[in-house]
């Protein structure tokens, strides 16, 4: 769950930017008896987020799970604007995990995706809010 909190911090850095977040909670550990609690859901408060409980790990299977040893979890993907999900997810610009250990490359990938989204010569500032001089 540290990954969720770390992601929330990164999202705060990109406040107001055109970013949408899909959080899929899935049973992986023996203690994952049911849907995430209110306290767990609050770990990502960003209003650009939508949260899902995927009891059958359908999304994990869609992105590559083919057995218990290959469950896709504690994992984050960044998709550029313009791509669509058609039975399968589009190719991510970036993906990795465990989430808490890939925060810096995640931050860079989001910035790059926002840069790519902006037309050449655009004056939209994609610098994270935190870390600006």
């Amino acid at each position: 769950m540290q990954g969720a909190s770390a992601t929330q911090e990164v999202l705060q850095e990109f406040a107001g930017k055109p970013v949408r977040v899909f959080i899929v909670w899935e049973p992986v550990l023996p203690t994952d008896w049911g849907a995430p609690s209110t306290a767990t859901l609050r770990r990502i408060k960003d209003t650009r987020s939508a949260q899902y409980w995927d009891k059958k790990r359908l999304i994990s299977q869609t992105v590559g799970e083919h057995g218990h040893r290959s469950i896709v979890w504690d994992h984050i993907s960044v998709y550029p604007a313009g791509t669509v999900w058609n039975q399968r997810p589009p190719n991510p610009l970036y993906e990795d995990g465990p989430v808490v250990q890939v925060i810096e490359p995640l931050r860079n990938a989001i910035a790059r995706a926002l840069q790519d989204r902006c037309p050449v010569g655009s004056s939209i500032d994609i610098t994270p809010v935190v870390g600006r001089p």
Binding site: L41, A50, Q51, W53, I76, Y79
Partner: protein, 67 residues
């Protein structure tokens, strides 16, 4: 039972209750977010539709364990 054992048992019960409530109490999404969606084969297309509806934005997909 000595008072020491009683206090220890009460604290342990309290901690267990707090942990149960924290990890398993309700599933209300934070204010400003849509309600938690429970995915199933019948509604998996909703997820795809939501993902594609945000086509103009950069999208992040997180897969996490709730505990």
């Amino acid at each position: 039972m000595s008072s020491r054992k009683f206090i220890f048992s009460a604290l342990a019960a309290l901690a267990l209750t707090a942990a149960l409530v924290y990890f398993y109490g309700g599933s209300q999404a934070p204010s400003g977010q849509p309600p938690l969606v429970r995915l199933a084969p019948e509604n998996i297309s909703q997820f795809e539709a939501a993902f594609n509806a945000a086509k103009g934005d950069v999208r992040l997909l997180l897969l996490l364990s709730p505990t």
